[in-house]
């Protein structure tokens, strides 16, 4: 069963704009992770936020986590054409082993 569900499914923006993607999940988690996938390639880990954290930054990425609403958001600031990819959220359960991925958001950044 899918745990994380991303919203929107697809997003198209102009270079320089910010991109926001949301993720909702159903059960208690140990942490939530965001990954990026370029077309036809494997996933690359972007950022991990633990259940006791509310916000985390990494370069142009900002992730928030609201455990009361069981939701997370990924903000990419000042987007570039090279940010065009699919973005997945993934939750790791409190048991600590299984990581469950959502279906992803496809981001297209127009130059």
């Amino acid at each position: 069963s899918q745990q994380g569900e991303e919203d929107p499914q697809a997003l198209s923006i102009q270079e320089g704009e910010n991109a926001t993607m949301n993720c909702s999940y159903k059960t208690s988690i140990n942490n939530l992770q965001w990954y990026r996938q370029n077309s036809g390639r494997g996933l690359v880990h972007l950022i991990l936020i633990r259940s006791n954290e509310r916000e985390k930054h990494s370069g142009r990425l900002r992730v928030t986590l609201d455990t009361s609403k069981k939701s997370s958001s990924l903000l990419i600031t000042a987007s570039r054409a090279a940010d065009t990819a699919s973005y997945f959220c993934a939750t790791c359960d409190t048991g600590g082993f299984k990581t469950i991925f959502g279906a992803g958001t496809r981001l297209f950044v127009k130059a």
Binding site: S1, Q2, N30, N31, Q33, Y35, G40, R41, G42, L43, V44, H45, L48, R50, F88, A90, C92, G95, G96, F97, K98, T99, I100, F101, G102, A103, G104
Partner: protein, 113 residues
């Protein structure tokens, strides 16, 4: 840098063939995973392995088996390939523990005709 490699980028097999997908990681990670990725369904876990010779079923193990004889290598086996196993297969590894990210290989796009 962690490196996860998969034996093939593209593979075409016939229905009924036995198919081996190999995954190797070079960072001494305890945990390894096999996923399949289909449009609109995200990644679905087929099998995972805590450590050498240990394996656990994921969400969709039917039609698959795995082997982990050495720590660095995790093999996915399709005993008798079927057309509904046409998919992208992704291998990943992770250090033991919940607080670590997974490192993915480049994927194998398998077509069963």
């Amino acid at each position: 840098d962690v490196k996860v490699t998969q034996s093939s980028r593209y593979l075409v097999k016939r229905t009924g063939e036995k198919v081996f997908l190999e995954c190797v990681q070079d960072m001494d990670h305890e945990n390894m995973f096999w996923y399949r990725q289909d449009p609109g369904l995200g990644l679905r876990l087929i099998y995972f392995s805590y450590d050498v010779k240990m394996k656990e079923k994921g969400d969709i193990p039917e039609g698959y088996s795995v082997s982990r004889e050495k720590k660095e290598r995790f093999s996915l086996i399709l005993e008798s390939a079927s057309t509904n196993q046409t998919s992208m297969y992704l291998c990943a590894s992770r250090r033991q523990g919940a607080g670590y990210e997974q490192y993915f290989g480049p994927g194998t796009r398998l077509t069963v005709t």
